[in-house]
């Protein structure tokens, strides 16, 4: 994030004013009540489809296709936990739940680490062709996954990675890198040049600068990246369907195997969606507190 804008120049280091004071002043100025109301309405509106899905997961399939979920308020006895019981009792589903961790966690960690390293080089180390390389790497963002399925299948087959969790992880890493580098590079280039130069003057190596100057500042960006990278891998279906075999299948594939071929499947889909959703939501809650960290901690002497 560029912290230098047209009108305001920031001098570093600064310690931020306590947020509390600012917030309460803002609140009183803007009519806090009105904002609260608007946001509450927006939140409610946003929740309606999810709420409908929740109700659908608590009803038998014949009820789901006979009437809309809002009718359940007139017939509360229709609600049942049977769908959840059935899925939770299914051992394949449990195994796949674990598999999804085995796939998503390494994929996320690898992407964040590799992208951070590469983005630093692309932002702060000058070398010939840097511009072109950046364009190329970030341009790969547009590659649709379907295009790579067959070539990569051939490649994996040749080196024996086809059907393994490693193969799936590598595929996800590869397709997560362009966005990750795009995001982090944009963030890193916004760090004030002075900070970096000062560290270099002091004789710090690139690695030290990366570790001590850049990373701490980049926490919000890295946190957001972690959330989304994890979530995209967690919810992926196509890559796993093609590259994972029965034993390494993640939860998306396992849930899919529960669907009836010719019938409606709202009960299974809804229940599966809720069970699966818990993990990304937990990751969100854990990492989003890093957004609240504000200001550049003083880092120059």
């Amino acid at each position: 994030m560029t912290l230098v804008a047209d009108e305001v120049r920031i001098e570093v280091p600064v310690s931020g004013a306590p947020r509390r004071g600012v917030l309460s002043r803002l609140a009183s100025r803007l009519g806090n009540g009105f904002v609260q109301l608007v946001l509450a309405l927006v939140a409610l509106f946003w929740l309606v489809p999810v709420f409908g899905l929740l109700i659908a997961s608590l009803r038998d399939e014949s009820a789901n296709t006979a009437s809309g979920w809002w009718t359940v308020f007139t017939k509360p006895t229709e609600l049942t936990l049977a769908n959840y019981a059935e899925l939770v009792a299914n051992r394949t589903v449990w195994q796949s739940f674990l598999n999804t961790f085995y796939i998503a966690v390494p994929a996320t960690i690898l992407v964040v680490v590799m992208a951070a390293l590469a983005s630093y080089a692309l932002s702060w180390i000058e070398f010939p062709g840097r511009e072109g390389l950046t364009v190329l790497v970030v341009g790969l963002l547009v590659m649709p996954i379907q295009v790579a399925l067959i070539p990569v299948a051939k490649l994996f087959g040749a080196i024996g990675l086809f059907g393994t969790i490693t193969g799936v992880v590598l595929f996800h890493v590869a397709f997560g890198l362009p966005f990750a580098i795009f995001l982090l590079r944009n963030f890193f280039t916004g760090i004030p040049r002075d900070l970096i130069e000062a560290a270099r003057m002091d004789g710090a190596t690139e690695w030290v600068i990366f570790k001590r100057v850049v990373l701490p500042v980049a926490k919000p960006a890295i946190a957001s990246l972690t959330i989304f990278q994890f979530l995209w891998v967690w919810n992926d279906l196509l890559v796993a369907l093609v590259f994972a075999d029965q034993d390494s299948a993640p939860i998306t594939v396992a849930l899919r195997a529960q669907l009836r071929q010719f019938g409606t499947n709202i009960d299974t889909l809804a229940t599966g969606a809720f069970l699966s959703m818990i993990v990304p939501l937990a990751v969100f809650l854990v990492f989003q507190k890093y957004f609240v960290q504000g200001v550049l901690a003083g880092s120059t002497k």
Binding site: A5, N32, A43, V142, L155, F182, N186, I196
Partner: protein, 425 residues
């Protein structure tokens, strides 16, 4: 030191190598593979030069896909970025910011496939299943009451017009009008209805009976023993385009026009008795399908935008805002002149990512659009999928589409890079 600090390619290598290796093997190689493949035909054996590209641009389905992608790109990313920005800024002021962001994030935690299914249901046409139409129908029915005999129609002898069912043959005083109706269930005939019978018309008047001509083993056009008259049906007598008399049938389905002395009239049954209940709009039909899918995408992706913008907001030093306030700026001015410029890098990242996401959009369209409207909702990634996969799939043409997709996005990338180069110098 052999080079100025920060200016050594060699130092960059360990940082870049892991990412570049993976990218080269798994993303770049398939791209190059596709590029080469796009110059060959379906089997991959015969070189055909630019023929795949020409075919692609002349295929009407691809052109529809282009048009739809343009609509998507113009409308959707801006909408999401804008909404995300407004909401992110507003949420700073409330204490339950995390809960709010969680609610907006939830759609992203659900897989695209499940979200697609959710929206398929939300926009389902049947008002007893789709919540949008349920609301629409509910509101509509508050204002306009439903008709008595929805779907009923005269068996024959009448033509359907805008105003209702008009008799083909005119009637004169002394005639008995028989109006057999079909298209309605005998079980649904209201309780007070009495068995139908043929009335006798006197001089100077017109009499008739409207009855439900449906019974097991009954004859068409004749009043059978179990058939009942239909009460409450409005009947009009029309002469020269003007309604000269109007009446309603009684419990036995009979009606009378007492003073018809002059000339002929044409009997008409106004459509208000027969209109089918309002069932909402056909959201998943050809005209509304793209807005429907875009709305689903907005629901999903606003969480993405708000998360990153919130991260950006949190990195803005409070001093900048303080300084501006101390200088006497109003909230709006602070927002416009300090917050937005400081946020502009984040906004750009979010916007560009959304644009690319929209250009690649696939699952949502695939899942939400029923087969009958997929060609109207078609987008490039979907077209590429359909062309490449399945038996007899043409991977050459599919690869051409992939390359075209890549070329479409390249300018956005270049613009973004240039902007940063300028800003840093």
């Amino acid at each position: 030191m052999d080079a100025a600090p920060g200016r050594s390619p060699r130092q960059a290598i360990p940082f870049l190598l892991p990412a570049l290796v993976v990218l080269a093997a798994l993303v770049l190689y398939p791209l190059v593979f596709s590029l080469i493949r796009s110059f060959f035909d379906a089997s991959g054996e015969q070189f055909v030069g630019l023929r795949n590209y020409v075919d692609t641009f002349t295929d009407p389905r691809t052109l529809t896909a282009f048009r739809n992608n343009v609509i998507w790109v113009v409308v959707a990313p801006a909408a999401v970025t804008g909404i995300g920005l407004v909401l992110a800024v507003l949420t700073e002021r409330i204490r339950w910011a995390t809960a709010f962001r969680l609610v907006l994030f939830m759609p992203m935690a659900i897989s695209l496939f499940a979200s697609g299914i959710i929206f398929r249901l939300v926009y389902e046409e049947a008002p007893n299943q789709g919540v949008v139409n349920a609301v629409l129908v509910g509101v509509h029915d508050v204002f306009s009451p439903s008709s008595n005999y929805p779907g009923a129609r005269p068996r024959d002898g009448y033509t359907a017009t805008e105003a209702g069912f008009t008799a083909n043959a005119p009637a004169r005083a002394g005639d008995t009008i028989m109006v057999p109706l079909v298209g309605f269930s005998p079980q649904q005939v209201p309780a007070p209805a009495l068995p139908a019978s043929v009335p006798q018309a006197g001089q100077g008047e017109l009499r008739g009976v409207v009855w439900l001509d449906v019974s097991v083993g009954g004859k068409a056009g004749r009043i059978d023993p179990t058939e009942r008259g239909l009460p409450g049906v409005a009947v009009e007598a029309v002469r020269d385009g003007q309604v000269v008399a109007r009446t309603t049938t009684g419990d036995d389905g009979r009606f009378t026009f007492p003073d018809l002395t002059r000339g002929e009239v044409v009997v008409r049954l106004p459509s208000s008795s027969f209109t089918l209940p309002f069932r909402g709009l056909t959201w998943l039909g050809p005209s509304l399908i793209t807005p429907v899918i875009i709305s689903s995408w907005i629901w999903i992706m606003t969480g993405f935008a708000i998360t990153f913008i919130a991260a950006g907001l949190s990195a803005i030093p409070r001093d900048a805002l303080e300084a501006a306030r101390v200088d006497g700026a109003t909230e709006w001015q602070v927002f416009r002149r300090v917050t937005i410029p400081l946020l502009s890098p984040v906004l750009l990242v979010v916007f560009v990512t959304l644009v690319i996401n929209v250009l690649k959009i696939f699952e949502l369209v695939f899942v939400i659009a029923p087969g009958s409207v997929q060609s109207e909702a078609n987008v490039l990634a979907l077209q590429m999928w359909q062309v490449s996969f399945g038996t007899g799939g043409d991977q050459g043409a599919g690869s051409a589409l992939a390359v075209i997709l890549f070329l479409l996005v390249a300018p956005a990338m270049l613009f973004n890079i240039r902007r940063f180069r300028r800003e840093r110098s």
